[in-house]
Symmetry: C2
Subunit: 140 residues, 2 copies
Amino acid sequence: MNDQRVTLITLGVDDLARSTAFYAALGWAPAEETEGAVFYRMGGMALGLFGRAALAADQGRPGAALGTGAITLAQNFADREAVDAAFARVEAAGATVLKRPEAVFWGGYSGYWADPDGHVWEMAHNPFWPLDADGRLSLP
Amino acid sequence: MNDQRVTLITLGVDDLARSTAFYAALGWAPAEETEGAVFYRMGGMALGLFGRAALAADQGRPGAALGTGAITLAQNFADREAVDAAFARVEAAGATVLKRPEAVFWGGYSGYWADPDGHVWEMAHNPFWPLDADGRLSLP
């Protein structure tokens, strides 16, 4: 089994109901809901929503201030039109627009938005990184 | 194509050479190295290392302080022994130990560590979430 993988991304959130409603507005369906956590299937991996303070405690640093991280979660799309369509959906769902999709220096097309807790997502088309039919990305 | 997916995780780092060396010590091999960025294959997705300030600018908020985020990236393993072995490898590579692997309330086994920039990783065994032969996680 290859260790170069991520199987779960957990986002700390302030209001689980608010966050669940936000991602539901994007069309996401939970696979598992437990007391204090919600999990989504993400195509070979999972994404969880979990209380911010509970996440800090679980990380072994209770009380730590978990704020705006130096990280982006990105969704790649097959073309620019698909990026625009997806971006419009999240904006309609109430996402905070950080940068509308635009042509970028590396030859692709990319926009950024933030969820209700400030978690930053990118939506991009990278012509050099084709996706397979399931939307998976295998670097050339 | 399913929109419920993550195809790229980008970590903002202060010293690309230091971070690349750290992940090399974990046994990770870059698939792509460009001026200012390094990308790894992560089994159907990719992980990138990118300058912290460049990431803030790319996100459309140049000058923003990107610190410790409310997020964990997790690697699930087939059993507790595999967690312990992987955890020992990252500790030997110089990771900051946040919480050594231990039995946890949800019935699994989990530890946390941080990379040179404070990005938090979890290594866990979840007996309720089996992995396939490629290490992919499909929630039941």
